[in-house]
């Protein structure tokens, strides 16, 4: 932790690298739209508050010239290529700006037949990190305001995209808070862990923001909304909440890209990404499966290999 603590409130990287990425995104976006190679570029533009950013579907060169990349670019824009958000896009080939974690989501969507690789022009961005939930966006990005996922990110530099915007500055070594939290939970007895999670889930107000923001929750009708038969109680009471969260965890196991958007948008501060991480770790240990920046033929839970660990069947 020593090194981490020293760097907590000093700026994480030189802001010039975001400016360089911004310039590269604009140049590529303008070129694509002017050449008619795409009908829209999904990227970020400045938000209403200082330091914030919001998704933008740019269809003109003018709009493209306003695109940015800053630590405030938290949204996972792969969302626009799945489910109802896709209807917000014009027809034809589109371009999308993705960070490494977003790219994992995009690759997952391709693997699940939600889009074809040649339907998108992928603008990857070299990403040092974005703000975490509750950060003061007016201040420069520092270790303390960095999103937890970014502290242990392995995909700062996207691979397999059509272009990469920006270059990666040297990054400080930071303590992996999420891994530490996971280890703390692992050390608990099953009873303690169950108590921990039921307490967390009890807070859920079933606003379903986590579902709406997740690129993988693209079902036209979520199992949890069905009433014939009703699998999950829809009102925000503890039993139904727990059921919802278990369904969510299971349905995203082996698919979740780790973008942590669900956790960021949760108004009740439920540590959803911790659960996602746990599932990912479990699948890696059992089947050596990891979500990657490349589309995969088979998912962890939709394939069977001789010699798969079956010790969980008791």
């Amino acid at each position: 932790m020593t090194q981490g603590q020293q760097t907590e409130s000093t700026p994480l990287v030189d802001p010039a690298c975001y400016a360089a990425a911004t310039a590269a995104i604009r140049a590529e976006a303008v070129r694509l739209l002017e050449a008619g190679e795409v009908t829209a570029v999904v990227g970020y533009r400045a938000g209403r508050r200082a330091g914030s950013a919001m998704p933008e579907v740019a269809t003109t060169a003018e709009a493209a010239a306003q695109l940015i990349f800053t630590p405030g670019c938290q949204n996972n824009l792969a969302l626009f290529l799945s489910k109802a958000k896709r209807e917000a896009l014009p027809k034809g080939k589109v371009a999308v700006v993705v960070k490494g974690c977003d790219l994992r989501a995009l690759a997952g969507l391709i693997g699940e037949s939600q889009l074809k690789r040649d339907e998108v022009h992928v603008i990857g961005v070299a990403c040092p990190g974005v703000y975490g939930a509750g950060a003061d966006l007016a201040k420069p990005l520092a270790a303390e305001s960095l999103a937890r996922k970014c502290r242990e990110c392995k995909v700062h530099l996207p691979e397999g995209t059509d272009v990469v915007a920006g270059t990666l500055p040297p990054l400080p070594d930071l303590a992996p808070l999420e891994a530490e939290e996971l280890a703390r939970l692992e050390a608990m007895t099953p009873q303690e862990r169950w108590a921990f999670w039921t307490e967390q889930f009890a807070r859920c107000i079933r606003c379903l923001a986590c579902r709406q923001v997740c690129p993988f929750c693209f079902c036209t009708q979520c199992l949890c909304d069905r009433n014939r038969p009703q699998a999950v109680d829809t009102s925000p009471r503890p039993a139904g909440n727990t059921a919802w969260h278990i369904v969510r965890a299971m349905h995203l196991a082996g698919r979740c890209a780790g973008c942590a958007e669900c956790e960021r948008v949760c108004p009740m501060d439920i540590p959803l990404n911790l659960l996602n991480r746990k599932m990912a770790q479990e699948l890696f240990e059992l089947y050596g499966f990891e979500t990657t920046m490349q589309p995969q033929e088979q998912g962890a839970l939709t394939s069977y290999r001789d010699g798969d660990d079956q010790s969980f069947i008791k």
């Binding site: 489910k83 699940e112 037949s113 939600q114 693209f218 079902c219 036209t220 009708q221 979520c222 199992l223 069905r226 014939r228 038969p229 699998a231 349905h251 088979q298 998912g299 839970l301 939709t302 394939s303 069977y304």
Partner: protein
């Protein structure tokens, strides 16, 4: 409101002994939607079924629950009765209160309570059953037979004689399998070649049989009635159409000293060869590993001497695709090679027997070749090491078989009989010789079998020693056999000239790979599994695939031939109709909610799920959804368990039904 009838069966006393059947019927009467309930001693009997039919009419029932045995046993029976009563048969379900209840519980009150719960669950399920219509699929009336041993030959001839086309695929250059290698056969001692070769010739001449030798099944797609099979025809280097079988090439080939595996390496053959003179087809192949042309590009003698110009060094593997409706698997067995410990297998070797090191320790099949009139010694029993006639021969039974500590616990079934045969053949050929047999038990069930075995002792003077052999070693030109005689309780040592080991019958190497291609199951040893040990012994669990011969378990020729004819009969039954009716318990996709993630397609082991485009009236693509081909779907329900949005469901097992069942508890 539903009007369901509940019919509780006593199954003689099988159910009523532990379950109070009257109480179950009474409880059923009180359930919502049940219009009638009764109990009867044997529901499956004629009067029992009559009771059901009468009740359907009298009480205007719209659903039937038969509380009795497993649906595997009698679902068909009761669905038929329901249909005869005028209801859709799929409105009838079975509540299994025998296997799931009376047979596994002792406490009467608890068992009765559980039976009531089971009935209640099924009532809820039947309430939500839909009327289903059987699915018809066309049947291609051609059968594939894999393996041309006696099993495959018999099955192929039977099916072909019934007027259907057969495609017979054999891996080796000739059909015949192990039986072609045998000398004389128990229990009658008729010459194996004499009864086998006419059948082989029949296969070659049959107008309905297409024979692919030196070929293997590469890929299998499709389902019962409609398989597509891709066959690899390995390059023979000889044009089948041109070759007249004159044999000049074999006579002139300068490479003459290649051990012939058909003769268990005791005889030699040239590089261009037929494995044995009676081979079918009588067309040689070039063994490209040993041929000088293929090794160094020189020689070419066979091509020069071949009159019709049939030798073709440039020949390539070819692929043929056949459409077939049924598949008979008849790939036979291998003898356990005890000289080495099989890699990656739980089976431990028999290093202490010196097999593979001591030349005069041989296995049963090698003895068959020595005893065969067309074998490498012309039917004389001579030792492989020095060509002398052995005067003392020790036979050891159960080598590998019934040896749990060695990894195989089953009995190979044929060794007792063929060892008895070997002692006789030996005595017939070496009058002053003495045969000893180490054995654990003599297992001789079969017509004329025990008599045969006794004859080897009583008339041919074989000495049977009950006990095991612990070690074999060479001493001078003798082999010392150390064993025990447990009948007398002493250790025995015999100095033998020749030792013959009755090694275990094992499945073919790589049997599991073929099984995976075919999608059939196999047991822990890799023998193919039948669908039911007693009631469906020749069918695989995978519809349209049948088993014949030793690939399913150790078998002698009479059993092999019977099973082959039985498999052929099953194929003919299938081919008796132009359309195949199958159970409509298949998955259906709710296209409105399906999001086309194709998780279902990835998990479907039957390959039943396709991608279907949904277009609007102008022809614009709206979305791509999953489509289940009902002809292919096996009704396993894996897709239903996988689909995140529950957009695919199995008829009869919908989530609604299953939740309704759970809610009764």
């Amino acid at each position: 409101m539903s009007r369901i009838g509940v019919f509780v069966c006593h199954c003689g006393e099988n159910i009523s002994r532990t379950v109070d059947v009257e109480k179950v019927a009474e409880a059923a009467r009180g359930l919502l939607g049940v219009a009638h309930a009764c109990d009867y001693k044997y529901m499956c009997s004629d009067p029992g079924q009559a009771l059901l039919k009468k009740a359907v009419a009298e009480h205007r029932l719209d659903g039937v629950v038969v509380a009795a045995c497993s649906p595997r046993m009698h679902e068909k029976t009761f669905r038929k009765a329901t249909e005869q009563a005028g209801l859709n048969p799929f409105l009838c379900e079975m509540a299994n209160i025998r296997e799931h209840c009376s047979w596994v519980h002792e406490d009467r009150d608890e068992a009765t309570a559980k039976a009531i719960d089971i009935v209640h669950m099924l009532v809820e399920r039947v309430k939500r059953n839909r009327k289903l219509q059987p699915i018809s699929v066309p049947v291609t009336k051609t059968s594939l037979v894999i393996g041309g041993g006696i099993a495959g030959i018999q099955a192929a001839l039977d099916i072909a004689d019934a007027g259907h086309r057969v495609v017979l695929v054999e891996r080796e250059p000739s059909i015949g399998g192990h039986m072609a290698q045998l000398s004389e056969t128990f229990p009658t001692l008729d010459c194996s070649q004499c009864i086998m070769t006419p059948k082989m010739v029949d296969v070659a001449n049959h107008p309905n049989i297409t024979l692919h030798t030196y070929s293997e099944v590469e890929e299998v797609d499709g389902y019962i009635g409609n398989f597509q099979v891709k066959i690899r025809k390995k390059a023979r280097s000889v044009d089948m159409a041109r070759c007249t079988g004159c044999g000049v090439c074999m006579a002139k080939c300068p490479q003459k000293k290649i051990p012939n595996s058909f003769d268990r390496d005791l005889g030699m053959r040239p590089a261009i060869y037929v494995p044995f003179p009676q081979a079918v087809p009588n067309v040689p192949v070039i063994d490209r590993v040993n041929c000088t042309w293929f090794k160094s590009g020189k020689c070419g003698v066979c091509q020069k001497v071949c009159g019709p110009g049939a030798v073709d060094y440039a020949q390539q593997d070819e692929f043929v695709v056949e459409q077939v409706g049924a598949i008979v698997v008849a790939t036979g067995f291998n003898l356990y090679d005890i000289s080495e410990k099989p890699k990656g297998s739980p089976i431990k070797g028999y290093g202490e027997f010196g097999h593979g090191k001591i030349p005069d320790v041989i296995d049963g099949m090698t003895f068959e070749r020595l005893a065969s009139a067309s074998g490498p010694t012309g039917g004389k029993i001579l030792r492989p090491s020095d060509g002398r006639e052995p005067k003392q021969v020790v036979f050891v039974q159960c080598v590998g078989s019934r040896a749990r500590e060695k990894g195989i616990s089953y009995c190979s079934k044929i060794c007792c009989m063929y060892t008895a045969k070997h002692t006789m053949l030996y005595k017939h050929k070496v009058h002053d010789g003495q045969a000893y047999v180490f054995f654990m038990d003599a297992r001789t069930p079969g017509k004329g079998y025990d008599e045969f075995w006794r004859r080897s002792i009583e008339q041919e003077e074989a000495v049977y020693i009950r006990g095991m052999v612990s070690r074999l070693y060479q001493k001078g030109d003798k082999i010392v056999v150390m064993g025990s005689d447990i009948a007398v309780g002493i250790q025995v040592e015999i100095e033998a000239d020749l030792v013959v080991l009755a090694t275990a019958v094992q499945p073919r190497q790589g049997a599991e790979l073929l099984a995976q291609k075919l999608g059939i199951s196999y047991d822990q040893y890799n023998f193919y599994s039948e669908a039911h040990a007693k009631l469906r012994p020749v069918e695989c669990a995978t519809a349209g695939i049948y088993l014949a011969g030793a690939c399913q378990g150790p078998k002698d020729i009479p059993d092999t031939v019977s099973q082959a004819s039985a498999a052929a009969a099953k194929v003919m039954t299938l081919f008796a109709k132009d359309q195949l009716e199958r159970e409509p318990i298949v998955a259906k996709v709710n296209e409105r909610f399906c999001v086309g993630c194709f998780a279902c397609k990835k998990v479907c082991a039957y390959g039943a799920i396709e991608e279907k485009e949904i277009r609007d009236r102008q022809g614009n693509l709206v979305k791509v959804v999953a489509y289940v081909n009902p002809g292919v779907c096996g009704g396993c329900g894996t897709c239903q368990a996988t689909c995140p949005s529950k957009s695919v469901e199995l008829d009869g097992y919908t989530d609604e039904q299953i939740l309704a069942m759970i809610e009764t508890l």
